[in-house]
């Protein structure tokens, strides 16, 4: 039941926020904060008392630390089937933490319709937790699509309208159509898999464990894998399918950007790790060179475009694309080290991107612009904010000592035995990362000042928020072991599923080069 409560708590909290709005604007904020705190506390409790070490080799025991299952639509063998392992635990904890940050950072930014805002915010988080826990494919799809609706409202109703036709409603609609249409492709792929399973066994099932053993022809497996891949690739985003991301980030309120970059993008990586790879190992192996190529493309495309941005939030959005390129490479490298690096990088990117988005939100509250040409020389005028900016920019470019460094290093290190060329090329991306990071610092905080009078410094709420984030970035940068131990079992399971066919027949073309 604990798993059900993990999903239900944000939904119930959201409804409470909506209904208590009439009693004042502060109550919904406190309720939302309490809800996310409870969520985080439950997850940490599970982590303390749970056992996420490696299961026995060969996997006789269940791979899940916790499981909950009840029949839902018996006609198609659909269950409400939730399960938790190290990977989902880490990501849910991340969701709880970033959820708290999202609530706190909109404390002063959101002034209208506070209750309904927090309803949407909490429902997004509830949907995301559902995605991380569901291992029935129907249920997974259910949450995957459901979480788009509150995100749409968040951007469309509380977003900022940019200049020249870049409206928030346009951005929200673009986001929704991109993800929903690609989601339908995934639905088709899920159904294709289910009917293939039905043809082989005569039973309908949407269960992850059943479908994993479905016999598929190579061609069929490839098509179905592509259905999953495209849905996840839109959300990650992988470069030719990224069109929604910069707009959505630029127009979203700060809390929306934090959720988008911190959590929603991670659902895509999670989907690849949990479903695309284990369900279609052979097809994924065959597709790996292309996926890695797309990853490299993403690294460069994101980094180069980030250098040319005027809007601070668009710049950070493009850096996200670049970082997700590393994640994609790591996932399709499929070695234990690379996969562990992917988890590390996801967590690190969530912290650093959230930090940068919150900082740019705070700058916006003070200067009422996100245009970098109208900033400059903020160092010394803004109290401790530029200092925090420097720290998070350093984290974002992967400075040793920060969690991002561990993540990127492990991804590249783990990928090298499989695809040395990819690693060599994408290492150049790290240089570009340094360039756009320095651009950001230079344009916003150094250079000639636009005015003399000092602006309001960080208040206690903002200071605590940034300090907490920074502490986590450094903690995982200096001592990543607890995180790696938690996800180790889950990652080695994925690695085993992914690598098995490679041992028998296929070898990566990359290896030859």
């Amino acid at each position: 039941m604990t798993l059900v409560w993990l999903i239900l708590i944000p939904f119930i909290g959201g409804l409470l926020c909506w209904q208590t709005e009439r009693m004042g604007t502060m109550l919904p904020r406190w309720i939302a904060l309490g809800t996310m705190l409870l969520e985080l506390a439950m997850t940490l409790g599970l982590w303390l008392y749970g056992d996420f070490r490696l299961p026995e080799a060969g996997g006789g025991a269940s791979q899940w630390a916790m499981e909950w299952r009840v029949a839902w639509i018996p006609r198609f063998g659909i269950d409400v089937h939730l399960a938790l392992d190290g990977l989902s635990l880490v990501l849910i904890a991340l969701t709880g933490f970033l959820g708290m940050l999202a609530v706190v950072c909109s404390w002063k930014e959101i002034v209208g319709r506070v209750g309904f805002f927090h309803l949407n915010l909490l429902w997004i988080l509830g949907g995301v937790v559902g995605v991380f826990l569901a291992i029935d494919l129907f249920l997974f799809f259910f949450f995957w699509e459901m979480m788009l609706v509150p995100m749409y409202f968040l951007i469309a109703l509380w977003g900022h309208s940019g200049s020249k036709g870049n409206t928030r409603i346009g951005a929200a609609t673009k986001f929704f159509i991109y993800t929903q249409a690609s989601g339908l492709l995934m639905l088709v792929a899920i159904l294709g898999l289910v009917f293939a399973h039905h043809a082989a066994t005569g039973e309908y099932s949407f269960s992850y464990d059943d479908l994993r053993n479905t016999p598929l022809s190579d061609e069929m497996a490839m098509w179905l894998m592509l259905g999953f891949f495209i849905a996840f690739a839109v959300k990650l985003p992988v470069v030719p399918l990224h069109g929604w991301l910069p707009d959505a980030h630029a127009q979203a309120p700060t809390a929306g950007s934090v959720d988008l970059a911190g959590i929603l993008l991670k659902t895509a990586a999670y989907g690849m790790l949990r479903f695309a790879l284990p369900l279609f190992p052979e097809a994924s192996q065959a597709f790996a060179p292309i996926a890695m190529g797309l990853g490299v493309l993403g690294i460069f495309y994101g980094a180069v475009l980030a250098c040319g941005q005027q809007d601070i939030k668009r710049l950070i959005a493009y850096t996200s694309i670049s970082h997700m390129g590393f994640v994609l490479i790591g996932i399709y490298a499929g070695t234990q080290l690379a996969l562990q690096g992917v988890v590390m990088l996801m967590v690190a990117h969530a912290f650093s991107a959230a930090g940068l988005f919150i900082l740019s939100g705070q700058i916006y509250e003070r200067l009422h612009t996100r245009d970098m040409t109208r900033m400059g020389g903020l160092w010394g005028r803004l109290g401790s904010l530029p200092g925090f900016s420097l720290c998070f920019v350093a984290a974002s470019l992967g400075m040793p000592g920060t969690a991002n460094f561990i993540g990127e290093f492990m991804v590249l290190f783990g990928t090298f035995p499989v695809a040395p060329v990819v690693v060599a090329v994408s290492s150049v991306g790290l240089v570009l990362a340094a360039i756009y990071s320095l651009f950001l610092m230079q344009r916003v905080h150094y250079g000639p000042a636009q005015g003399e009078e000092p602006l309001a410094g960080l208040d206690r709420r903002e200071y605590t928020m940034m300090l907490g984030l920074l502490a986590l970035v450094l903690l995982f940068g200096l001592y990543p072991q607890p995180l790696l131990e938690t996800t180790g079992a889950a990652m080695s399971e994925i690695q085993r599923l992914f690598a098995d066919p490679a041992l028998t027949s296929t070898t990566l073309p990359m290896r030859a080069s």
Binding site: W72, I73, P74, R75, F76, F138, F141, F142, F143, E145, M146, L148, V149, Y152, F153, A156, L157, I169, A172, T173, F176, I177, Q180, A181, L184, L185, L187, V188, L191, G192, V194, F195
Partner: protein, 481 residues
């Protein structure tokens, strides 16, 4: 053959509805009383609905003209529920009408009876009879607010185009009769020779006529004007009862009759389905009137539903059933909100999108209902529409009709745009626009209660669809053909 008591029991719902129609007519002749008329109508329809439980004991059963099987019971139940919803909405809509309001329910009952006959027909004579009995009262219902130019226009437009469709239907029947010498569906099936061009032409012409009623592209041109002009409850009836009945008979024809299973007609159905999905959704994009938008959306939805006609085996009947339920519940709720917000004395219905701007801040629960219906029409999880769409996609994938699956995906993606547009309008900050508002106590009135109930049903079916699926499966299993 002689009619036995069993046959009469099987026809009980039809008899009850007709008896109610007569009772209403006599009541009007004696003394006009709006509330009492509504009450009698509602009681009659409820009794008919209850009698289905008895009918269930004797199915399947046939007379030469009508068949009462699972499919009939399914269609009858949906028609009766829709008619009940329309009655309740009509009460809210016509409450302060100064002209004669009572005849509306008479027309509604007659039309519902026509729909029931049509859905149960297994003979071309009853098919024709049912279709006309369904359509004739609808002309009157659509033109009911005849002091409104648009309402009158809607009625006359529907009358003339419907007459043209009827001509097609009769010509098609005549061609089929000339080739087989039979008029019952089973006889048509046995007497039918492959590659008989005249019979094929006949089948095609019948398809045109039924396609007109379902507003399938390219026979859809009347739909937006008629929906927009007709009074709220009449448009609701047109979007629900009329479409259910016409679709069920088309399903029967396709499943039973080999004339509709030929290669050529199958291909035609595929092309029509694709065109209907895409054109319906594309034309809806630029609409700024909610009723017109729903008309186009309804066109698109029947495009999706036609996948069940194309496949017509395996999961097809179950899919058609589930999709019809989810569609009808959603569309009743959507039109219900429009009707609750409208009344024929404030000019035309409140259908322009700007009437709905910022509705959330005045009427949060009514807005929630409309939002849920839009999400359901778009097929988003937690709503009934998602289950329907899931079934349709599943059917397409199972039959490996990849073109149709592609059409559904593209259509849905386009559709999202206008559903989202409606949704976000509801939540935008109110500008100084002319207000159209529901009465303050809408939530406790019959119309409001129905609308809220339907919205809850949409959510319930979306979250816990298992009972509905079981019910449809049982009914599909006992249908003939």
């Amino acid at each position: 053959m002689t009619l036995t008591t069993t046959h009469l029991v099987a026809l009980l719902p039809l008899i009850l509805v007709c008896a109610t129609a007569i009772a209403v007519m006599l009541g009007i002749a004696w003394r006009r009383h709006h509330a009492a008329t509504v009450l009698v109508t509602a009681i009659g329809l409820n009794l008919a609905l209850l009698s289905l439980l008895v009918v269930w004991q004797v199915t399947p059963i046939e007379t030469p003209l009508l068949v009462v099987d699972g499919l009939t019971i399914f269609a009858t139940a949906l028609i009766l529920v829709s008619a009940l919803a329309c009655t309740t909405l009509g009460h809210a809509y016509l409450e302060h009408y100064t002209g004669p309001a009572e005849e509306f329910y008479l027309l509604l009952l007659c039309s519902a009876a026509g729909g029931m006959v049509l859905a149960a027909s297994q003979h071309l004579a009853t098919l024709f009879f049912g279709l006309e009995l369904l359509s004739m009262p609808l002309y009157g219902m659509l033109a009911y607010a005849f002091h409104e130019r648009r309402s009158l226009e809607a009625g006359i437009k529907y009358l003339i185009l419907s007459a043209a469709a009827t001509a097609f239907l009769l010509f098609g029947m005549a061609l089929l009769y000339s080739q087989t010498g039979r008029l019952d569906l089973a006889g048509l099936a046995s007497g039918f020779a492959e590659d008989n061009a005249w019979a094929l032409a006949g089948a095609g012409m019948m398809l045109v006529a039924l396609g007109f009623k379902l507003s399938i592209v390219p026979f859809h041109l009347w739909a937006p004007d008629v929906y927009e002009g007709g009074p709220g409850p009449a448009a609701t009836f047109l979007a629900s009862v009329s479409k259910i009945a016409a679709f069920i008979i088309l399903l029967r024809l396709v499943v039973v009759s080999p004339a509709f299973q030929g290669e050529w007609l199958q291909e035609t159905l595929v092309v029509l389905a694709l065109a209907t999905m895409l054109v319906g959704n594309l034309l809806a994009l630029t609409q700024s009137n909610l009723k017109r938008l729903l008309a186009y959306s309804s066109i698109a939805h029947f495009g999706y539903l036609m996948v069940a006609l194309v496949v017509s085996d395996g999961l097809a009947k179950e899919t058609a059933g589930v999709y019809l339920i989810t569609y009808v519940v959603t569309v009743l709720a959507a039109f219900g909100v429009i009707t609750v917000l409208s009344s024929p004395y404030g000019g035309a219905d409140a259908a322009a999108l700007h009437h709905y701007r910022g509705l959330f801040w005045r009427r949060p629960y009514l807005t929630a209902v409309l939002t849920i219906t839009m999400l359901s029409l778009a097929g988003i999880p937690f709503t009934a529409g998602f289950i329907g769409k899931f079934y349709i996609v599943a059917l397409g994938v199972e039959a490996e009709r990849w073109w149709l699956v592609g059409g559904i995906i593209v259509g849905s993606a386009i559709g999202l745009y206008y559903y989202l547009r409606v949704m976000v309008t509801l939540f935008l900050v109110e500008a100084g626009m002319r207000r159209r508002d529901a009465p303050h106590d809408w939530g406790v009135r019959a119309g409001g209660v129905v609308v809220m109930g339907l919205a809850l049903l949409v959510l319930l079916l979306g979250v816990y669809p298992a009972p509905m699926i079981e019910w449809v499966r049982v009914l599909a299993a006992t249908s003939i053909g």
